[in-house]
């Protein structure tokens, strides 16, 4: 489990987090959402040990990430947004990297490369941006770490690849794994992520599962704009109204509308979800 307690973090003069506390439970695929610059990537870096908190603590299964102990590192993998590859083939790359990870599975790598339709014998620099991203995703997943952190994983993927991405990620997750996907492309991960974490400057606005969200918030799809809605958006054929679930009705979450509702009613929804 990932525990973040009273975390303070700043880059020189820019405060990113102020006393935030947060938990990520095992067996979930978290969607980490937030506006540009709120610190989604920074949070992932703090959890991976690439940055050190100025105050407070971050622990992953009891390990302090910033100590970067091998026992901790062999159980986490961070796939950054920017595709940076070596001058080698994905196969050679995974063969030299995999030896450090006790559960590394070469057969799985091969299977994923076939599933994602990437040529494992081509050098990274001969692959397109999307192909590189898919190759690195196959590498990351074949290491079978308990924690997988993906920063904007669907950027640069074509439509069929996005569907494949959702498929392989959902196959990857089990009771022992935690996947955190930081993204702006909420539609790409709509049926994949649960729970959702929404970050704001200095703060966490929401950290809740779909069932917790729909218990408190109702998504009404209808022909009218409702005045008491937290947020209303015009859709083809009508409106979506995000409102308080006063009648305990069930509804389907629209992540984009939820995000906008949370951003427009920060304190109200934060208090509602407590």
């Amino acid at each position: 489990m990932i525990k973040i307690n009273n975390l303070d973090f700043a880059y020189k003069n820019t405060q990113v987090f102020r006393r935030i506390s947060l938990e990520f439970q095992k067996g979930n695929i978290y969607g980490l959402l937030g506006e540009n610059g709120v610190g989604k990537t920074t949070l992932l870096k703090l959890i991976c040990g690439l940055q050190k908190p100025q105050h407070g603590e971050v622990t992953v299964d009891g390990f302090v990430p910033s100590e970067r102990k091998p026992e901790f590192l062999q159980n986490v993998y961070f796939l950054p947004e920017e595709v940076i590859t070596e001058d080698t083939t994905p196969e050679k790359f995974i063969k030299k990297t995999g030896v450090f990870y006790p559960r590394y599975d070469y057969e799985l790598f091969n299977k994923l490369m076939k599933e994602l339709e990437v040529d494992l014998n081509k050098k990274f620099n001969e692959l397109s941006h999307g192909q590189k991203k898919k190759a690195l995703l196959a590498c990351a997943m074949s290491l079978k770490t308990d924690y997988l952190f993906l920063d904007e994983p669907t950027n640069g993927l074509d439509i069929p690849s996005k569907a494949l991405f959702r498929k392989v990620i959902s196959q990857y997750c089990n009771d022992e794994t935690t996947v955190i996907i930081s993204t702006h492309q909420v539609k790409d991960v709509e049926n994949l992520i649960d729970p959702i974490v929404i970050l704001d400057r200095d703060d966490v606005l929401l950290n809740a599962s779909f069932s917790q969200i729909t218990e408190k918030i109702f998504f009404e799809y209808g022909p009218e704009r409702l005045d008491n809605a937290y947020y209303t958006e015009m859709l083809p054929g009508g409106y979506i109204n995000v409102m308080r679930n006063v009648n305990n009705e069930e509804s389907n979450i629209n992540i984009e509308a939820l995000f906008n509702a949370v951003m427009k009613n920060k304190e109200t929804i934060k208090n509602l979800m407590k």
């Binding site: 870096k45 991976c48 040990g49 690439l50 940055q51 050190k52 970067r68 102990k69 091998p70 026992e71 590192l73 062999q74 986490v76 993998y77 961070f78 950054p80 920017e82 940076i84 070596e86 001058d87 050679k92 030299k96 990297t97 030896v99 450090f100 990870y101």
Partner: protein, 278 residues
Amino acid sequence: MNNTLNINRLGKVIKYDGASFFHNLSLTLIILWAIPVALWLIASLTPNDGHMEAYMRISMIESLTKILLILTPAALYKSCNDARKGIGYAMMPASALEKFISMVFYCAIAAPIVYIAGALAVDSILALFGGPYEGFAIAGYFNQYEQIRNVFETNMMMNPEEFDKYTSMMTPAWIIFSDIFSVLMLSSIFMFGNMIFKKRKTGKMIGIIVLLIILFLIVFVNYVTNHRTMFTYMDADNAEEIIKRFIYIMIRVAFVVEIVISVVMLWLTYFKIKTQKY
């Protein structure tokens, strides 16, 4: 699991780093190996009968090795402190100590050994052709002590007994030991430079060294100028003795400085690997 040093894991880190060793260093090695060949060609093609003694060639190989030591850290570990490109290195499941040992192994041991072995092989092949290269360069290494002795005898009018007295440390074994530390010092300085600078790592480190040398010279010259009285007792009779004593002290001081700088730079490099943020 030992989170600080595990031999099995260290082997994996060495293998991991080694996978890109020749890929990243081959061009530098080839250029530095080609220099003695180019000199041999130039000397062979020039009309005058110029010879390059073995000890001169070994000095040249030593100098080229030093250039290699300066260039190697940035060539092999260029991106290890880069906020984006260095993430893979930081997240590699190995301890900072294991990564550090592997870095020292490649920068201060493997690279100079590979270069020197190659350069001596090239030199031996060229020596077999005859021409300007006489004898094998490797023989010149063990003659260095004799060469220094000759220089002292010829230029400073010092007899062999006196030379041995003041340079009693400078045995062939000491020369090897001293060379090892000068390799380590140079390598450790540039390994540290590679960890603290993000861009133009080698150039910036050379700049700092030059600045420090200039600063040291200014302080030294100032000191000597301000303490001129200390040297007033130095006359023609005892000047030679003072210079000899100065050499005697400087040899030892230089050796201690090499060790101190190496240890400090290596520790700082390890510390940077351990605490680098991305």
